[in-house]
């Protein structure tokens, strides 16, 4: 289980915002925690998948996509802030993510 430091938190936040800014051709200054990914950025599931792959590689994570999918069914992600929080949980708990709901 990885420990989430302030540094990790900042890294993830910066990576998520930079990713959506590039994908959605928006300035980073326009993306905030409450920005709705679909409504405000026209984001989609392929972007979500790509972001997961980026973090899997960057943090060498052992997690199946469907584990994240199952978690997302119970904890839907709509905003950038929610997405950052979920990515931090993925990094912290990896394949044990679903145990958080037990």
């Amino acid at each position: 289980m990885a420990k989430i430091t302030e540094n990790t938190r900042n890294e993830v936040r910066e990576a998520v915002i930079a990713f959506f800014a590039e994908e959605c051709e928006t300035d980073t200054s326009q993306i905030h925690d409450h920005t709705n990914i679909i409504r405000d950025l026209d984001g989609d599931s392929l972007m979500f998948l790509e972001l997961i792959e980026i973090f899997k590689k960057k943090y060498n994570l052992d997690i199946e996509l469907k584990t994240i999918g199952k978690y997302a069914v119970k904890h839907p992600v709509q905003t950038i802030g929610q997405l950052i929080e979920m990515q931090l949980l993925v990094i912290e708990h990896e394949n044990r993510l679903l145990e958080l709901d037990k």
Partner: protein, 301 residues
């Protein structure tokens, strides 16, 4: 001339016109309008009422195919007018018709004729049930097969877009159950594709026979630019193979992942999607080391 060889790839159906090029490429609109008029005269006068902002044709399977075809042909022509020639082409599913036209294998009208005849034959020969297709992202092929067998769903896996993106087809009831179960199993995305024909399944084998009567008597030429088969990833480099591909494409599964890799293996590292959406470009990010997609308007000189 191109500095680097480029593959033109053509989408099949589209669900929106978000990336309509007419606003950013002035030359495009004129060419699109000319093709639209031709298609209206040849296939369906109603096409003239097409409007990208409020477009009812997205819900009409046949007209959606016509419009996607017109988009594909127009994009390719704008590129070629600008000196950008493809070294190879491929059509995603029913995008085959635009690939054939773009490679000089069929006329614009023959492409429209194939679209119409295929659609009519599919409708006529489908057993009396409702059908559909679904796209699922985030599950593996084994996950999909497990869901189908656990819930006794008669589904065909008709395309692999990447290791975690698939298309399935079957009766609309089985598709509905599948979508529900796929989400429960952790699919990141699972949605109906909004079509009522189970393309690329053997349910359409009789339709393909009927279509073959049109295809084998049509004026089809050796492609001037090679086309890669999405069915078996072989080169379609003569008229006979082009005809076979049109017929087989109706009722056989295809593999987009293998097709993109195959194109890359021929030495082509740059792809451009000739159409109003960017679905193939987005999907390409999940095919590691298989080339780079460049928006077609970025290639204009």
């Amino acid at each position: 001339m191109n500095e680097k060889p480029i593959a033109f790839v053509f989408p099949a159906f589209i669900s929106d016109y978000k990336d309509d090029p007419s606003d950013i490429v002035p030359a495009y609109e004129k060419i699109f309008e000319a093709y639209l008029e031709k298609a209206a005269a040849f296939a369906d006068p109603e096409l003239l009422s097409f409007h990208k902002e409020s477009n009812p044709m997205l819900d009409d399977e046949l007209r959606n195919q016509y419009i996607t075809y017109i988009y594909g042909c127009s994009c390719a022509e704008v590129l070629r007018n600008s000196g950008v020639e493809p070294a190879i082409t491929a059509g995603y599913s029913m995008g085959l018709y635009a690939a054939l036209f773009s490679s000089g294998s069929v006329s614009f009208e023959t492409g429209l004729l194939f679209i119409r005849k295929a659609y009519e034959a599919n409708r006529k020969h489908l057993p009396g049930k409702q059908y559909g297709m679904a796209g699922v992202i985030g599950l593996s092929e084994k996950d999909i097969s497990d869901i189908a067998s656990r819930f006794n769903l008669n589904l065909a896996l008709v395309n692999r877009n990447s290791d975690y993106s698939f298309i399935v087809a079957g009766s609309s009831f089985h598709i509905k159950v599948f979508l529900l179960k796929a989400r429960e199993e952790g699919a990141l995305h699972a949605r109906s594709l909004g079509v009522t024909i189970p393309y690329h399944t053997n349910l359409l084998s009789e339709a393909a026979k009927e279509l073959s009567e049109t295809v084998y008597t049509a004026d089809v030429h050796t492609p001037g630019i090679p086309i890669i088969s999405v069915l078996n990833q072989e080169l379609i480099n003569d008229a006979a193979r082009a005809k076979d591909e049109v017929v087989k494409n109706i009722f056989n599964p295809f593999n987009w992942l293998a097709t993109q890799r195959r194109i890359f293996d021929t030495g082509i590292g740059i792809f451009t999607e000739c159409g109003p959406s960017s679905a193939l470009r987005k999907n390409s990010k999940f095919i590691p080391g298989a080339g780079k997609f460049v928006p077609w308007n970025a290639l204009l000189k």
